[in-house]
């Protein structure tokens, strides 16, 4: 329990201290907060591994009166992934957000916003209360929008405003569903809702919440806000926005469809969700192919990569949940969430290094930079392996498990999406990789400290290691899963 609460309290305290303390104390206190929260997240994962899922009733009040928190395998795993990405972001931001480089405004705001975002993500990962999740999502939204706007450029302001528009619309849709479900059942707790007496309004409530969360997850066709927002933010902010923020709304979606109201998962609904995911894979890939800037390619690839995760709905949801292949498909999708997070953060941080080195992320300007900055080029290439789904990366494990589920359940069509998406990813990553590894250097880069260059490399290596050592995370992700799908492959 202490580990769970520490993951929420420590980043909040560090954020408050970073706001109140004078400028010279800001960076040390923020880095201290990052280190302690990282330790708390790992500690939480270890306690979940040894003791199983951890449940806390806040203030000693049981639901439906109070709010319950619960760290299961998935929540704790996402917490560790978030902690690793945040630690990497902090190490990169030490250089990029230095007052002399970024100016007093950005160097003031970045640290509290980052820490508040972290606290909100951790809060969403463990919350079991639909309204508390709404509050957590709103905190994520406001900090994320501010992080988009932080560069102060005109296109960043427009992108942030569009992002806020979509995110608030999504919040209201979600809130509408929450209102209906409390009005009908008198509880907001996910576990209590699972045991409710079903009423006709439930389908509407679930539909509204799902629609809102899809907007926030930027699933096709609600993805239009994502690429401009993620590419307009400074690189450390983009890394958080792309790797972490969509995972929060996606996790709530999974909790709703697999835990709170699994009996409403009709084949048509599940097919629609996965169909939109498949379209996102294709459409995001095609648009990534057309971009001329590194960060935009990476941002469009987020649209595509998030699409894969939605294949979990028909492969492991509804009637399929009790089938032998469900656990594999479910874990595959979770591997995709974790692997994509690590790899995408590595890519954005690498792009940040290029921007710091040559002042631009146009493919024509980053040509040949692998010669001058070999570690960064290597990091980008390693992260690409995960996005492509090549062995031995986490992306490979994810696609392998999803593919097995598709064949075992006889839903062959989804296998084509996995293969086609992989080919598209190869096509859209080919251009940046050939540019970075070209023989001639287009622009002579400024020197970049080794400590900074190593950051994306470590993240990219972690995304590969997750695939190499997949059996431990596989078992870990099963902790606290809903009972019906506990029987594995």
């Amino acid at each position: 329990m202490t580990a769970l609460i520490s993951g929420l309290v420590l980043p909040l305290l560090a954020a408050l201290a970073a706001i109140a303390l004078p400028a010279r104390a800001r960076l040390p206190v923020a880095l201290l907060g990052v280190g302690l929260t990282l330790a708390a997240s790992i500690w939480l994962a270890i306690s979940v591994w040894t003791n199983g899922a951890i449940t806390v009733s806040l203030g000693g009040w049981q639901p439906p009166i109070g709010i319950a928190l619960r760290a299961d395998g998935l929540g704790a795993a996402l917490g560790v992934m978030t902690a690793l990405v945040m630690a990497a972001v902090a190490l990169a931001a030490r250089h990029e957000m230095e007052p002399l480089v970024a100016g007093p405004r950005t160097s003031f705001g970045f640290w509290p916003l980052m820490l508040l975002l972290w606290a909100a993500l951790n809060a969403v990962f463990v919350s079991r209360d639909l309204f508390n999740l709404y509050v957590g999502l709103e905190l994520i939204t406001l900090t994320a929008v501010a992080l988009v706007a932080i560069s102060g450029k005109a296109e960043a302001i427009a992108a942030a405003l569009r992002y806020l528009l979509f995110a608030l619309a999504g919040s209201l849709l979600y809130l509408a569903g929450v209102v209906l479900s409390y009005a009908a059942h008198g509880t907001l707790d996910i576990s209590l809702l699972a045991a409710r007496t079903a009423v006709p309004g439930d389908a509407l409530a679930l539909g509204l919440m799902t629609a809102g969360l899809l907007v926030k997850t930027a699933l096709f066709p609600f993805h239009v806000w994502l690429p401009p927002a993620h590419s307009a933010a400074p690189a450390p902010a983009s890394a958080m926005l792309s790797a972490l923020v969509p995972k929060a709304s996606l996790l709530i979606l999974l909790r709703l469809w697999f835990e709170a109201m699994p009996e409403l998962a009709t084949p048509v609904a599940l097919f629609t969700l996965a169909g939109l995911g498949a379209l996102a894979v294709i459409w995001g890939g095609v648009l990534a192919l057309l971009q001329a800037r590194l960060k935009l390619i990476v941002a469009y690839s987020t649209v595509a990569q998030l699409g894969y995760i939605f294949l979990v709905f028909p492969l492991a949801g509804g009637d399929g949940a009790a089938q032998p292949w469900a656990a594999g498909a479910w874990t595959g999708a979770m591997f995709q969430m974790l692997g994509h997070g690590l790899a995408k953060a590595a890519m954005f941080l690498a792009a940040g290094i290029y921007i710091a080195a040559v002042g631009s992320d146009r493919l024509s300007d980053v040509r040949g930079l692998a010669r001058a900055l070999p570690m960064t080029g290597f990091a980008f290439a390693l992260a690409s392996i995960t996005l492509l789904g090549l062995p031995p990366s986490a992306g490979f494990t994810a696609k392998y498990l999803l593919m097995t589920g598709a064949f075992a359940s006889g839903q062959w069509a989804w296998a084509f999406v996995l293969v086609g998406g992989g080919l598209l990813a190869a096509a859209y990553l080919y251009r940046p990789l050939t540019a970075i590894f070209a023989r001639e250097i287009a622009v002579t880069p400024r020197p970049i400290p080794w400590g900074w260059q190593a950051v994306p490399l470590v993240l990219a290596m972690l995304s590969v290691a997750l695939g190499l050592l997949s059996s431990v995370p596989f078992d870990f992700l099963q902790i606290g899963r809903p009972d019906q799908a506990a029987e594995g492959l």
Binding site: M1, T2, I5, V9, L12, L13, L16, A17, I19, A20, P22, V56, S57, L58, G59, G60, W61, P64, I65, G66, I67, G103, P104, R105, T106, F108, G109, P112, L113, L116, A119, A120, A123, F131, N132, V135, G136, E138, L139, L142, T143, V145, A146, A149, I150, G152, I157, A176, L180, A183, A184, H185, G186, T187, T197, V199, P200, G201, L204, A205
Partner: protein, 308 residues
């Protein structure tokens, strides 16, 4: 007769809502929006939700209105307050009708009310006002995050300042004729508002009131003093202001941690100590909420210059 009253009130609310959406002119819409919040507060009074009525009157009708008025003024000076007239938009009308009908259907499909039974829990909560018990005790984690959200919005707002204006005072530099109506108003209102705001926080434990409502009233009088030029505009660099921002959430958070160490868990309040603990937390929160709201309304530092 009370049904006639409610129907008349709802008709007014709907009319004002329609005028806000459909009428031409952004300024007109802003004014309608202010009256909308006001009528809604009366609606909450009719529903018996007095704490909500207070929040609606203070926050939606009051602060949001001032925020929008100030924004309209700024946009007009940037020649961005004009808008194209509303054209007929059939898809939007269909979606909107669909949403309204779906919600209307959901109302009639609701099963019998199933509110959680609070009779055993309320006496343990330390306060007599059940809404305060929910906000500060049963669901304190929501309320803590809510205070943090206000703070996050303020930090986000400050990020919209231009770099060269960062060290300027926050917001516009208000001035008024010394001894004029505005300046006298700025001196007369604050003492009254101060007492009323403190009363709302104190009363909130047992009857209508609370930290957010009281904080809003305090913010309102503070804003009037600022606008009248009685108070100097704050700067981000001033540590006292930043400390005031984090004081309330900090006290709330640390009292939660104290609950984890000395009582049953995070945010737990032992029944014997619940009342003083809640009043302390509310007092600290009120101060921070008031300061945060003031700074949210006056906006980021502004040197008044134009972008190229």
């Amino acid at each position: 007769m009370s049904l006639v009253l409610d129907i008349a009130l709802c008709a007014l609310i709907l009319g004002v809502g329609l005028a806000t959406v459909a009428g031409h002119g952004v300024f007109r819409a802003v004014i309608f929006f202010i009256t909308y919040g006001l009528l809604l507060a009366i609606g909450w009074a009719r529903l018996g939700a007095y704490d909500v009525a207070l929040a609606e009157a203070a926050i939606s009708a009051g602060l949001t209105g001032v925020l929008l008025l100030a924004a309209h003024g700024r946009l007009r000076r940037l020649s961005a307050a004009e808008e194209a007239p509303l054209r007929r938009n059939l898809p939007a009308a269909l979606i909107a009708t669909g949403v309204a009908l779906a919600l209307g259907w959901a109302w009639f499909a609701l099963p019998d009310p199933a509110a959680p039974d609070l009779t055993a829990a309320l006496p343990q909560s330390g306060v007599g006002n059940p809404v305060t018990a929910v906000l500060l005790n049963f669901r304190a984690w929501d309320t803590l995050l809510e205070a943090i959200i206000l703070l996050a919005a303020l930090i986000g707002l400050w990020m919209l300042a231009r770099d060269r204006a960062w060290n300027e005072p926050l917001g516009l530099q208000y001035h008024a004729r010394a001894g004029g109506v505005m300046a006298s108003f700025g001196r007369v209102l604050p003492p009254i508002g101060l007492i009323f705001g403190v009363y709302l926080v104190w009363a909130g434990a047992e009857t209508t009131g609370g930290a957010f409502q009281g904080g809003t009233v305090l913010a309102a009088v503070c804003l009037v003093s600022l606008m009248a030029g009685v108070l100097p505009a704050p700067r981000i660099a001033q540590t006292a202001w930043r400390a005031a921002l984090v004081f309330g959430p900090g006290v709330f958070l640390l009292s939660g941690v104290a609950g984890a160490i000395f009582a049953q868990g995070f945010l737990a309040l032992p029944p014997a100590l619940a009342k003083p603990a809640i009043v302390t937390i509310e007092a600290a929160l009120t101060l921070s909420i008031a300061v945060t709201l003031v700074l949210l309304v006056i906006g980021p530092p502004d040197d008044g210059g134009q972008d190229a």
